[in-house]
């Protein structure tokens, strides 16, 4: 129906304020519902590791010994910091300071990228130890560990990757003046996603690397 197509092509900024307020709520609600799904999905992957770990504690201990906690601790701090810079950026946009927001968000994106690089370094180390995704390629010492470890951490890594891309998009839209202290739902929804990825890492860090 032509009328509807017309309406859809309007810029969001042109919507009257009331509708805008309704939408805000809608978007955040939708994001939370999406995150509810993600909770379940990550729980299966993490749970798969946990159940298996209960059966094979020595193998995990061996991995911890060879790996150390140095690298992964750095990574954890990177993500925590990125979450912090993310909320600080949002705080800036709440006081109409777009340039300030851009700075903090740039930091968030950079921290996300460094996180991925370090994860790659860690994966290479693990591969060196003979921990691989497929069963046949794995060293017998670590048989079956690789897949359970990688499926969860790599799935999280993909989320970081998506988050970085999204962060850049948000920055671009901020550049174009899409956000202000009155309209920053787009930033907030991205924030929900990014913090969620951080929360997942908090859990993964403790369960996969420390316990």
């Amino acid at each position: 129906m032509s009328e509807i197509t017309l309406h859809e092509s309007k810029q969001p900024a042109l919507l009257p304020p009331k509708e805008e307020a309704i939408r805000n709520d809608n978007y955040k609600f939708a994001m939370w519902l999406y995150l509810a799904s993600e909770v379940v999905l990550f729980a299966i992957l993490i749970g798969g590791f946990v159940i298996w770990r209960v059966q094979n504690p020595e193998m995990v201990a061996r991995m911890h010994d060879s790996l150390g906690v140095g690298l992964v601790s750095v990574n954890t701090f990177l993500l925590l910091t990125s979450s912090w810079s993310m909320v600080m950026g949002m705080r800036e946009i709440m006081r109409d300071n777009v340039a300030g927001m851009q700075k903090w968000f740039a930091a968030t994106a950079v921290l996300g990228v460094i996180f991925m690089v370090l994860q790659y370094v860690e994966y290479s180390e693990l591969a060196h130890l003979g921990i691989t995704l497929d069963f046949a390629g794995s060293s017998t010492e670590f048989a079956g560990l690789g897949v359970r470890f990688y499926s969860a951490t790599f799935f999280h890594g993909i989320h970081v990757f998506v988050g970085v891309i999204w962060c850049l998009l948000v920055m671009r839209r901020a550049q174009q003046g899409a956000f202000s202290s009155k309209r920053y739902t787009g930033v907030e929804v991205f924030g929900l996603y990014w913090h969620f990825v951080d929360v997942v890492w908090i859990i993964i860090f403790t369960i996969f690397y420390l316990v």
């Binding site: 009331k18 709520d25 955040k28 609600f29 729980a43 749970g47 601790s73 912090w84 908090i202």
Partner: protein, 126 residues
């Protein structure tokens, strides 16, 4: 009527405005009161500090101790950290309560299933 304020489209606007007032004051302040002391940092930074301290504590505990107590303590720390992020950074504290419900439901359901899978004897003993 009070329970409708957040549910119905035409009133959403006002609901939205008011909650932002609450959130604003707390988030925008340059100082934060913690345990009766006033710290010279915004709320978000204080939370970041706590998260950092908890993480360092976790690493120390993990390196120094080894018993089941350690596992319980570490898990408690992780949950505390996750809760801080969710409550403050993700604004559950000030946002609609229905979001909290949306978060707790999957956590509840997942806990049931994982608990079951954990108590099931492994392998041939099914």
């Amino acid at each position: 009527m009070s329970d409708h304020t957040h549910n119905h489209a035409p009133t959403t606007e006002t609901a939205h405005e008011t909650h932002h007032d609450d959130a604003h004051a707390e988030v925008m302040a340059e100082t934060t009161t913690l345990l009766g002391r006033t710290l010279p940092f915004p709320l978000y930074t204080v939370i970041f500090g706590i998260l950092g301290i908890l993480t360092v504590a976790e690493i120390v505990i993990a390196e120094l101790f080894s018993s089941w107590v350690k596992i319980v303590v570490l898990l408690a720390f992780a949950i505390a950290k996750a809760a801080l992020v969710v409550i403050y950074y993700m604004h559950l504290k000030t946002d609609s309560k229905i979001f909290t419900l949306v978060l707790l439901l999957p956590v509840f359901i997942v806990t049931i299933s994982l608990m079951f899978l954990l108590i099931v004897p492994y392998g041939s003993a099914y």
